[in-house]
Structures are given as C-alpha cells and as structure tokens.
C-alpha cells in the first residue's frame, strides 16, 4: 500500500521536510511505497531573514530568492495552487483551481502573514521590513530621511522575535554613520513590561539603548496610527509623535487555516512534543503555523522540521515514533552593523546570550548564504 505524504506550504518548514524525507526514503520513493507532493503559493522561495538588510542596502535582492522547484528535491511534485480548504476528517485538501489532493499523512506548514490592516491607520502611516515591498519602501524613506523622530514599534504576535532589536541598533549605526544621529531621536516600543520577551536579551538591550540614547516605551500595544497627524497611540493610553514609523505589524496564520476551522487566528492547536495537530494522528504542524507558545522563527521551523522528518520516516519504515521535539530555538542577533551575538534555548534550558562580537556578525553574514543548504536539508 502506498503512503501519500502531502505538504501544504512551500516555505522553510515544508521545504526542509520534503527534502529531508527524500534523503531518507529513497528506496520507498523508488518502489512507490511512498509519495511526497507539495502545494504552495509561489514559484519563488524567499530567505526572509535577509529582508532585515534591505532597508540599508546591505544585501542584493537577488540573494533573497531561489526558484522553489530548484530548492526542492526533484522527486517532489510542486503545485503552485494555494490550498483553500483542508478537511482533516476526509483526509483531503482542496485548492484554488478546484483540484482535490488526498493524503495518508499531511504536513501543514502554511506560515504566518502580516496584518497591518488590523490596526487603524497602520497601513497608511507605517513602514515595515517584513516583506519585500515594505523593505523597499523603508529603504527609500531612509534615503530621504534627514533627521527627526523615528519610532520602532513592535506588535504581538510577530515572527522573528529578535528582529525588532536588530533593526533598532542597525538604524542607530546607519544614521550615525550618515551623521544624522545628532538630529534624530529613536524610540523603541514593546508590548510587555521589558524591552524583549527573552529576559537576557532585554537585560542586554536596556543598557545598550541607554548608552546610545535610544528611548523606549514598554507596555505599548498599538491601538491606532494617525497617518496625517503622524502620531501612534497605545491601548495603554500613550500617544507618541513620529516623523518615521517603523512597525513590526501583528501577524495571523494563513487564511486557509481559519477558513477550514483548524484554528483561531490561523494557528493550529498542536502537541508541543509530537508536533501533531491536536485530535489527529496523521496531521503534522510545523513552523509558524503551530499555536505552541514558542518563537515563530526560521530556526524553530528548522528544528521542528527535523523532528517531523525523523518521526515520519520512523513511522513509515518501522511503525514507531522516533523522538519528541525538545523546543530548541537558535537565533542570531545582529547588535549593530558590525557586531552580533546569538541566543539558544529549549523547553528546559533558559537562554543565555554571549557578548556581541564581530566574528558572530560575520558568521550571520555567512549563514545568509548557508541558508540554502538548510532548505535543501543538508545543514
């Protein structure tokens, strides 16, 4: 009997899983005992962390993209046909074109999306760098910027949790190098009562921001933006004026998740160790799509994907589970234009970032290219 594995989502999580399965199931694929196919939304695969460098002109846009069919193992048919309904009871997925894909095992890795439209005035009044169009607009605005008040505004939930502090310190270095910091004020706003969700990152960021003269406002959850008056107001009742607003917009999961009744906000209730959808024994959830209270980040997707690969291979070839996901997350943290550090943690090990160094910054720049080996399942 053939085992049909269907992967919905062509981002990092889905792609690592597809390629990793191919590397371990060569014989089963050859003999037809297993088939793997993928449904996605684009012919391009984007290296999302590279967007951080776009506003500063520090990366060539071509470096961010590869043809998804070239990143994917050639044994995986790739259908650019967005999923519109996922029926986990009938074990089938319907796509925009009306096709129906049946499966024995399903991997849902549909990711997250930016929702600036959830906050009145944000689309009109703010810049962001979490997608290419936004990062380009922010680059153009920075080119024109000649001093004033910049606000870096963070909203929950959002992916890549260290990116807000990275962009803040990179903005400082960028404007300082241009000689603009003497007539610029940067203010960083954060939803909770410290400067970062990770306590050690918050403890490192506070004295660093104090040293650079970067202001901050904690317990700031955006209620509305006035794009004409150029102010941003929080649910907590604070209003700040700005000349340039850089926001990390709130995120939701994919529309197909809510449309299929699989989870509020597009986040699927998921067993945090087995990465199975709650209530299913053949539906794996990976990457940003889970509702696990853990960082939505590429490294999370990577470590989760490795677990899903091992368990799917083990289930298909030996009829047993291989291992649990241990909650591992690893993030590089750019602490300016020339230095960086990193942080890792899992369900039982708290984070403990080291001192920033130039070497780690260089390693991050190297990883910007090594990423493609991760996507191919080689790293």
């Amino acid at each position: 009997m053939s085992n049909r594995i269907l992967i919905v989502g062509g981002g990092l999580a889905g792609t690592i899983i597809a390629n990793g399965l191919c590397r371990q199931l060569g014989k089963e694929l050859r003999t037809g005992k297993v088939s793997i196919s993928m449904i996605g939304t684009s012919d391009q695969h984007m290296y999302q962390p590279g967007l951080l460098y776009v506003p500063f002109g520090k990366i060539r846009e071509a470096e961010l993209f590869r043809d998804q069919r070239k990143v994917l193992d050639r044994r995986v048919p790739y259908h650019i046909d967005p999923a519109t309904n996922i029926d986990v009871d009938a074990q089938k997925v319907t796509t925009q074109s009306g096709k129906i894909y049946e499966y024995d095992y399903l991997v849902i890795a549909t990711g997250s999306r930016l929702m600036p439209q959830n906050i009145p005035g944000m689309e009109e009044g703010a810049h962001w760098f979490y997608d290419l169009e936004g990062a380009r607009k922010m680059r153009d605005a920075l080119t024109e910027f000649d001093g004033g008040k910049i606000i870096v505004n963070v909203n929950a939930p959002h992916k890549c949790p260290v990116a807000p502090v990275e962009i803040t310190f990179m903005l400082y270095d960028f404007l300082n190098d241009k000689g603009l910091m003497d007539k610029t004020e940067i203010t960083y706003t954060y939803p909770i009562g410290r400067l970062h969700a990770l306590e050690p990152v918050a403890e490192w960021a506070k004295p660093a921001m104090d040293e650079y003269g970067i202001k901050y406002e904690t317990f700031f959850n955006t209620k509305e933006v006035d794009p004409v008056g150029k102010t941003i107001t929080s649910e907590e009742g604070v209003t700040l004026p700005y000349d340039m607003l850089v926001t990390i917009p709130p995120h939701n999961g994919a529309e197909v998740i809510t449309d299929s009744g699989l989870g509020d906000g597009g986040w699927v209730p998921t067993d945090k160790k087995k990465l199975l959808r709650e209530g299913s024994d053949n539906v794996f959830i990976c990457g940003d799509t889970t509702n696990i209270p853990i960082s939505k980040a590429g490294s999370t997707a990577h470590f989760e994907a490795d677990t899903v690969i091992d368990n799917l291979v083990s289930l298909l070839t030996e009829g047993r589970w291989a291992r649990d996901y241990d909650g591992k997350v690893f993030c590089f943290v750019e602490t300016g234009m020339k230095t960086g550090t990193y942080v890792w943690f899992d369900y039982t090990t708290p984070p403990n970032p080291g001192a920033p160094s130039q070497m780690i910054h260089w390693f991050k720049l190297a990883y910007n290219r090594l990423y493609w080996l991760s996507a191919r399942g080689l790293l």
Partner: protein, 76 residues
C-alpha cells in the same frame, strides 16, 4: 456564551506568557476568559500590572506550587 481559553506557557521563554496573553486576547470575544499557566514567577505580577493599565479584568491569580495560574477576562 462566554468561553475560557487555556494558554499553557509553562517553560516558554519566548515570546512568554504575557505576550501570548496579549496575542490571544485579540482573538476572543469581550467577556471571554483566558487562563495562562506559567512557570515564570514574574507572570503573577506582570499580568495584573498590564491588565490594570489597559483596562481588562483580573479574575484571579493562583500559586499552584510548581507554576502559576492567572485568569483574565477581556473587558473591551
């Protein structure tokens, strides 16, 4: 009818219990309750402080021995 949602953020270092609560409040109806389980002792102080600032309602905080249970009602 009001519902209660559970966030089991025990052992969650990032984004952490309060950030999970803020995100989940955006998805529920006024009157619904959210129970947050947390092993971070700061949660028992952070959550009431934020709830008071923003105008939601604290239902209760309970020390369960190895973790805290904090219940919040969405008020607006």
């Amino acid at each position: 009818m009001a519902e209660r949602k559970l966030i089991d953020a025990r052992g969650a270092f990032c984004p952490g219990p309060l950030m999970e609560l803020i995100a989940t409040l955006k998805l529920v109806e006024i009157g619904d309750e959210i129970e947050v389980l947390s092993t971070d002792k700061g949660t028992a102080m952070d959550v009431p402080e934020w709830v008071a600032k923003v105008g939601h309602e604290m239902v209760g905080t309970e020390d369960k021995g190895d973790h805290w249970s904090v219940v919040v009602r969405k008020a607006k």
